[in-house]
Amino acid sequence: MDIFGSFALLLAFLTAVYAFVAGIIGIVTRRVLLTKSARNAGMAVFGLVTLAVATLEYFFFTDDFSLAYVAAHSNRALPLYYKFSSLWAGQEGSLLWWSWLLSIYVFFALFLNRKRHPELMPYVGVTLAGVQIFFLTLNNFVASPFHVIAGADGGGVLRLAKLADGSGLNPLLQYPEMVIHPPMLYLGYTGFTIPFAFAMAALLGRYPGEKWIHITRRWTMVAWCFQSIGVLLGAHWAYAVLGWGGYWAWDPVENAALLPWITGTAFLHSVMMQEKRGMMKVWNVWLVFVTFMLCILGTSLTRTGIVSSVHAFAESNIGPYFFGFLGIVLLVCLAAWYKNRDYLRSDNQLDSLVSRESSFLFNNLILLAACFAVLWGTLFPVISEAVAGNKISVGPPFFNKVEVPIALFLLFLTGVGPLLAWRKTSVDALKRNFAWPGVGGLAAGAVAFALGWRDFYPLVCVILSVFVALTILAEFYRGARVISSRDGSNILTAVGELTMRNTRRYGGYVVHFAMVMIFVGIAGSAFNQDIQKELNVGQSMAIGPYTILCQNFDQPSNDNYQSERATIEVFRNGKSRMMLYPERRLFRASGVTETIVANQSTPVHDLYVVYAGRSPDTNLPVIHAYLNPLVKWIWFGGIVLVLGTILAMIPDRRAALVLRAATDRPWAGEAAPNPVVSGPIHRTGSDD
C-alpha cells in the first residue's frame, strides 16, 4: 500500500514537471495542443496527490503502524475524526496537505478558465506548476510521509516492521477546532498562489488592462477569508485549549500567519485603485508577489523552527529548501517586473489629496507598516544573532507597543476612507458624513471614561470603534432611505435591496463592522485580571464580582486519558450562579497532560477557570481564574467577517436588473434612454 502512495506522489511530481516544461514550450512555439496538454497535466496533479492523501488516510484509519509517520501521530484508541486530522499533525503530512490543497486550487483555476483567456492561461498554468514542483519535491525527496519502519532481525538484516500501536496524537491537537484550523489556514496560504499566478501571467504575457484583477478578485477573497478564519480559529484554540488565559502571544508562527493576511488586505483595497482609476499597477503586482512570498515564508517559519517558537511542530532540515525557493521566487518576480515594467504605467493622476485615492494610499501605507513591524520583530532575533552576534528576545511587549498605535490609526482610516469620494471630496461632504459619527464616538468615549476605562489606548479604541460603526450604519441608512422613498418599501427591506445591488461595497462595510467588533474585543484585554491560588475543598477566592468556591475534586477517566477534575461553584452577590468543571487530562498513549478550561463566556466578560494541577510544593490543588472582558466580541466579529466576505462575493443583483431593462422594458417604469448605463443605480454622497 505504501508503494501505491509514494508512486502516486512521484507521478504527481513528474506530471507537474511536464506541465511546467510543456507549458513553456507551448508558449514559446505557440503550439495550442501542447498548451492544452500542459493544462490537462496541471489538472491531473490534483488526482494524483488526492490518491497519495487517500492512501495515507487509509493507513491512519486501518491503524496500520508500518509507516513511521502514522506510528508517530496516531494510536488505536484515538477517536476516528482525530485519525483523519492526524494527517497534518506532523511535518511530512502537513507538507503533503499543502500540496493537496494547492492542487485543488490549481485544478479549479485551470478548469473554470479552460475556455477563457487563452492568452493568459498558459502562463498561469506554468506559474502554478512551478510552485507545485517545489512542494512535490519536498513531498517526494525531502519529507516523504511514506517512510516505512524497519528493524534489524537477529542476523542483522533489516526487515520491514510494523508496530503494535502508535504513540498517539499530540493531545493539544485533540480538540475539534484543530480538525478545522490547520485546513483553514492552509487554504489561506495556498489560496494566495492563484492571484500570484495570474499577476505573474499578466505581467509575463503583457496581458492588457485590469483583467487579471477582475479574474482574481474572488480567488483573493476566498484565500483571504480562509486566512482570516484560520488566524481566528488559531487564536480561539490557543484561548480555549492552552489554558493561559490569552489568545495571542505574538509567537513567530502566529505572526507568520498574520503577515500574508495583512498584505492580502492591502491588496484587496488597492485593486480598487487600479479597477477604477488605472493607478497603482506596479504596486498591485508587487503586493501580490509579496503576499505569496510571505505565505511561503510563513509556511517555512511554521515548518522549520528557524525562529524559536512554542509551536514546536518541527525543527528540521528543510529550511534551506524553503529559502532557496523564496530566493528563486524573488528573482523571478524581479526579472518579470523589470522586463515588463513599461507595461505597468499608470493611466491617471491624483486630483485631490482629500479623496478616495489618497485614502487608499494611506490604507496601504499603514497596512504595510503594520506588516513590516511584525516581520521585523519576528526576524530580528535571527538578524541580531547573525549580524551583531548577540542573542536577544523580541517578546509581546515590543509588538504591543509598536502595533497598537498602527492598528488604531488603521481603524480610524476604516471610518474615514470609504466616505471620501473618488477624485475629490468637498468640505461640505466631509461635515455631512462625519459630524454625527464623530460626536457619537466622543460621547461613547466620555461614557467609557465615566465607567472607569481610563487607559489611553482602550479609550481611543472605544471612540474610534463607535465612530466607525456609526459611519457604516449611516451609509446603510442613507442608501436605504433613498430606496425606500423611491419605491415605498420599509427601511429594512431597503437595506437588503441596497446591499444586494452592490454586494461588494456593502459586504465590505460588513467586514469593516466585523473588524470594529474584533477591535472592541481586543481593547478589553487591557482590563484582564487573574488570580492563582491553592484551593482545598471548601476554600474560596474572589475575582471581580465573582467568588469561586471549591466544592469537590474527582478523577473521571476513560481509555484515552485519565483525568483530575475540580467542581467549582461560582457566586455573585452572594447568590450561586453556576457550576464550573475545570479539568486536567493525562493522555495514556503519550503521557502528556492537557488542561480543559472551564470558560463561562458572556458578551461582557469571560470567567475563565483553569485547574492548574497540584502544587509541586504542597500537593494542594491550584486554581487559576481569569476575568477577561469583551473577549467574545472577537469571535462574534470573526463570524460577521466571514458573512461579510461571502456577501461581497455574491454577484450584484443590479446586473440582472440592468439586463432586464436593456432587453425587456425600462426599469420600474422610469424612462431609460440608455438602460445599460442608467440602470437603477442608487448613489449616495460618495460612490464606490
Partner: protein, 188 residues
C-alpha cells in the same frame, strides 16, 4: 448651563487678563494637587500589597529562562506539563524579584541584575541601545520613508495633472477614453 455662555458672560463683566489669570490659577491649582498626589504616593510607606503588585509587574518584564517556554517569569505556565503554573526556574526568578523589591532596589537595578545573570535574552523588550536599537527605530523609520516616497509620487501625479491645462485641443480618442472611464467609474 452652557459653559461657553458662562465664559462669555464672564468676559463681559471682567477684563480679559483677569479671565486668563483665573484659568492659569485653576490650572496651577490642579498641577499642585497632582504633584501632591504623586508625592504622597512616593513617600507613603511601601505597603506589602504595593510591593507584591510591583514584583508581579516586574516579573512580567523578564523572560522565564527555563528554555522550555516562551513566557515571562510572571506568566510562565507550562501547558501540557505536569503542573500548568510557573516552573521552578520561573518561581526562582519570581522570588528573586520579590526579594529585591522588598530590599528596596529600583526597577532598573533589578532588571540590570537579571541581564548580568542571564544575558540580554532575559528581556522580552530588547534594550533601546546598540544594535538592538534598530528593532525599535525601523518600524517608525520605514513608514516615514514610505510616506515620503508616496508623497513624492503623489506630487508627481499632481504635476502631471496640472500640466495639460491650456494645452492642445482634446483629441477624439482621449474624449472617448474619458467617456469609457467615466462609465467604468460609475459602474459601482
Amino acid at each position: 448651563m452652557n459653559p461657553n455662555r458662562n465664559a462669555r458672560n464672564f468676559l463681559k463683566t471682567h477684563d480679559r487678563s483677569t479671565f486668563y489669570s483665573t484659568i492659569i490659577r485653576g490650572v496651577s491649582a490642579a498641577r499642585i494637587t497632582l504633584v501632591l498626589a504623586l508625592l504622597s504616593c512616593a513617600f507613603a510607606p511601601a505597603s506589602r500589597a504595593d510591593n507584591a503588585e510591583r514584583a508581579k509587574a516586574l516579573s512580567k518584564k523578564v523572560m522565564c529562562m527555563c528554555g522550555g517556554c516562551n513566557d515571562t517569569a510572571g506568566t510562565c505556565n507550562h501547558t501540557g506539563g505536569a503542573f500548568s503554573g510557573p516552573c521552578d526556574t520561573a518561581k526562582a526568578m519570581q522570588k528573586e524579584v520579590a526579594d529585591r523589591v522588598a530590599r528596596g532596589d529600583s526597577d532598573d537595578l533589578i532588571l540590570q541584575s537579571f541581564v548580568q545573570e542571564y544575558g540580554p535574552t532575559v528581556l522580552p523588550e530588547p534594550p533601546k541601545k546598540g544594535f538592538t536599537w534598530l528593532v525599535w527605530v525601523m518600524p517608525i523609520l520605514a513608514p516615514l520613508i514610505a510616506f515620503y516616497l508616496i508623497w513624492e509620487v503623489v506630487r508627481r501625479w499632481r504635476r502631471q495633472t496640472l500640466a495639460p491645462a491650456g494645452g492642445p485641443p482634446i483629441s477624439p480618442e482621449l474624449l472617448d477614453r474619458a467617456r469609457r472611464e467615466a462609465d467604468r467609474e460609475s459602474d459601482e
